[in-house]
Subunit: 342 residues, 2 copies
DNA sequence: CTGAAAGCGCTAACAA
DNA sequence: TTGTTAGCGCTTTCAG
């Protein structure tokens, strides 16, 4: 594609009157010390004026380093991910890395293929947002010594570094808020039970209900098949059709909560008049919904940044032990929660 | 990172008892014809069992082709882009390409740096969603023979392939809808006037107002500094503070419309009771707003897919003349528009 | 401190 | 049809 041939290391070396090897050393901060300071300066200057840009591909071929990391997302159209991506990129960029984003659409096959492609492109590590509790692929990657850090969710039984929200605290906050408003029969529409966030939040829900002395009825908990509006709507419809009695819903995440909104409209239920709802994530634009959604606020950008930092550390020093971070959460009270009707 | 050394072409060749060059030919669909069918089969089988994966980096070094294209976005957190990305990836993937996504945050400097990085990574072309009317960088790239296609917006005076919504039709639809409801004094909060979408929509607005015989007052049009809620809010506040009289707003896009919602809340205005609003793009979740936003629906995924197709065509045959596509739009009438108060 | 030489994994002439 | 030979642009021994 070029047309204008970008100058190569040889060109710089020739112009500076040195051997390419010397030019290489002069241009690389790591090896610059090995070369005469004056020569180094001269080479750098020539490189500058020639507009020399090292070819990372050629470099990668030699060093097996590419300056890239892979970013594996389940679904880019879920608004919670862009802020994570942003946080990641801010850190990577500062470190001279770039992230290659792939979308799996929650399909393990696509995931496998994408990860393979990325590996063949020599990514130096992965940030993975698609973890499932059972995740053989991750296990395999770990065995093969691939560097990676999990964001948001994590697999079970694998000791992998991860940055996740403190799900238990988030749910506890939600349930307590509803209890304080006077709700006694609270539904939990859990996320898929093959994800850590799904089960951790469901477990936290049960604990909170018990600790706060609320009504404890298995019929009040259902799992959604996906983290989506449709799945949330379906789960709530099932609950309603079964005649379950409740005055509030703790949704596994914001999209599931939005699914509830759809069902409220279908069934002529008022929110928060007839039923209150709490979401999870605080994705954008929630404040403009009808009604504005009360939700658990998650520092997505910070999650991303932290994950990137961890990964870069691991790449720099693979022997360093895996570290995991739980990020603190807060509840954002908006208009979707109110005391139950008397 | 590897740990398990992935087998190289040499390994395959050795195992199959042929020369690496033969193995290469056998493995590449394009050159497979040059090799004995039996040998080819054998090589492929060996490659299969060895788990051989070609190294695209090494290949790229030789061929100056990388199988990647660069995707330049102004802001990934704007919900209109993920669907475009999805459309692009669907096509690229099918063609064995992958897209490298970068975010410029509307910063020309970041844009320049990112594009340079991508070029050094040998992307074969670009899909660019950051075009400004005046865009020296694009001009330079075009001069240098870089393949690219514009999505959504385009620069002025450069003959570059583009896939854009039919802005004029979209605005015309909006204004006509409002006129039919009985509105006579309609405000347009235009997008930034350094973008083609901003000015094209503003021009279309003026034309529609004239054609429909509505009130034509320069005070009814303002430009927003960005495609954002904040900028939209600011523009509307200015309008209100100036005492401009109007009953409806045609917003440059959905985010600007959302900014209007904020101002309505601040100033105690009812929508659509006191003032109607129409957006542009039909980004996700608009149906759940208070009130649901009437907007122009844009086939984002199709835009992305079409752009990817165009780019792949151009890469395959650079001599082919630049083609541009205007995609048709429809109006999605929701709850933010109603007849003006009497 | 610098140059020479080799090679990362692959493909593309050119010969045979 | 296959093998030989180079070489993509860079880094990295190893000598000097």
């Amino acid at each position: 594609m070029p047309a204008v041939q970008t100058p190569t290391l040889r060109d710089v070396a020739d112009a500076a009157g040195v051997h390419p090897a010397t030019a290489s050393r002069a241009l690389n901060p790591g090896t610059r010390g090995l070369v005469n300071a004056d020569t180094a300066r001269r080479v750098m200057k020539v490189a500058e004026t020639l507009g020399y840009r090292p070819n990372p591909i050629a470099r990668g071929l030699k060093t097996a380093k590419s300056g890239t990391i892979g970013l594996v997302l389940p679904d880019l159209t879920n608004p919670m991910f862009p802020p994570i991506v942003r946080g990641i990129e801010a850190i990577l960029e500062a470190a001279g890395y770039s992230g290659l984003i792939v979308n799996t659409d929650n399909d393990p096959h696509r995931e496998r293929v994408h990860i393979e492609t990325l590996r063949s492109r020599q990514v130096e590590g992965f940030i993975i947002a698609t973890a499932r509790l059972e995740h053989p692929l991750l296990e395999q990657l770990q065995r093969e010594g691939v560097q990676m850090v999990m964001v948001n969710r994590r697999p079970e039984g694998l000791d992998l570094p991860s940055i996740t929200p403190d799900d238990a605290v988030g749910v506890e906050l939600s349930v307590r808020h509803l209890a304080e408003l006077g709700h006694r029969r609270i539904v939990h529409l859990a996320g898929p039970d093959n994800t850590s966030t799904g089960v951790a939040r469901a477990r936290a829900f049960r604990n909170a209900v018990r600790d706060l002395g609320l009504e404890h009825d298995p019929a009040l908990v259902a799992s959604c098949s996906h983290w989506s509006e449709e799945a949330g709507a379906e789960a709530l419809r099932g609950m309603l059709d079964a005649g379950t009695d409740f005055t509030a819903v703790v949704a596994g995440n914001d999209l599931i909560a939005l699914g509830c909104y759809d069902v409220f409209a279908e069934r002529g239920l008022q929110c928060p008049g007839d039923v209150s709802v709490v979401g999870f994530n605080d994705m954008p634009f929630l404040d403009k919904l009808r009604p504005p959604l009360t939700t658990v606020s998650v520092p997505h950008q910070q999650i991303g940044a932290e994950a990137a930092r961890l990964l870069l550390e691991a790449i720099a020093d693979p022997s360093r032990p895996a570290r995991s971070v739980l990020l603190p959460l807060t509840l954002k009270v908006r208009g979707s929660t109110a005391p139950p009707a008397a």
